[in-house]
Amino acid sequence: MIRAMLIPRRLIMLGFFAAFVIWCAVTLDWSWIPAYAPLALSGLWVTIWLLVVSLVLGFALAVPLGLAQAIGPWYLAAPARAFCTVIRGTPLLLQIWLLYFGLGSLFPQFPWIRESELWPYLRQAWPYAILSLTLSYAGYEGEVMRGAFASVQKGQIEAARAFGMPRFTMFRRIWLPQAIRQALPTLGGETILQLKATPLVATITIVELYAVAARVRQDTFIIYEPLLLLAVGYLLIAGVITLGFRWIEGRGPRM
């Protein structure tokens, strides 16, 4: 990868890029950074936290969704397919607003919810953010896992069955690992899509990375600098995710 960058044409391009970066650093206004650095760091943390939690929960939900669509009886397959269609057919922003404003205006009408232990949490925005991001990821990944489960070779499962493997062990040891292995390249792309979806929760008052940049713009009327830095930040996170998935893909046996 490094050697590919060392041909003259790319060195010239890198030179232009370096010149652009230096030009940005010198002429643009970066005086706001010290004041907002702590907020930006906490925003970065919130973004990563939202991403990881929604990925884990969403994937845990996607496995049964995919399984129900691949081999489930019709009364499980039909609702799973309907769920995936609805999630994939409507904008995430609308889902976030439906859950946050809709449930948020519905819950206070019930006294037993207001008096419950969960109420202090239900009044905050992050449960709704996690819920909507999780459901969205589950909807997209349910579809991916359906294809992955269906594409695992039949002989593998028959072999496991022939050895008298219990159904759950067979699922855990044979079927799921191979399905995940098949789906890994797609999951990598979907994970970056999920990263790109996180800024939407800034619209329901969650202060993550994008919200910090928006606040800088509101406070100081500096437009381009925070946005550029934000874009670089997301590029770096996306790069880390890509490298991570490449590493995981490289570890398993070649398919």
Binding site: P91, L93, L98, F101, G102, S105, L195, L200, L227, A231
Partner: protein, 240 residues
Amino acid sequence: MEQALELLSLSPPGWGANLLRGLAASIQIALGAFGFGLIIGFFGAMGKLYGSPWVRDLLEVYTTVVRAVPELVLILILYYVGTDIINNIAAAMGRGPVEISGIAAGIWVLGVVQGAYSTEILRGAIKAVPPGQIEAARAFGMPRGLLARRVTIPAMTAFAIPGLANLWLIATKDTALLAVVGFSELTLETRQAAQSTRAYFTFFLAAGFLYLMVTLLSGVIFGRIEKWARRGQPSHRSAS
């Protein structure tokens, strides 16, 4: 239920007309952005496949950056860059600041985003065309434009349709992001209606239903187009 229908009715006490107006704006922006993206994508794919190494590297940077940065951030950057450029041109021509229509701005920002994705889709589709077909046309001395029009584009359409159908759905859903920057399309109209009536569930569900109808209808239309584009190709179903 009755109350909900009253709120959604088309005449003034209801907000149905606002939602439909928003839907029309959303579809206009999506269509424009999809078309603009296809134009960028076609030239991008040509550049990536047949362009000089410089062009290829630059296009690689374009597609990588656009696909890694959140649409919301890109929309803001492109919106400000676009208005700045137009205002500078207007100032250079001695005019005052220009008022930019929301639909035009939406088409511009989403089109640039869509262009990166359609570049990749069309590149893959062109690569899937058996090279002998394009070589045969070249061997007969067919001029470039005619070759693209008569051979490459018709032959690649069938391969590009599934990806483009997906991209069209992304375009319709991405128009919702323009609500954050304050364009009045379906999602923003819905939010305004919901906030002034406090009937959040009614309106968000109604808007979700409208989006879902667009999605399902597009699925049917793209299915037809794909069938049409695949005419003459051997079907895998009958072969196996």
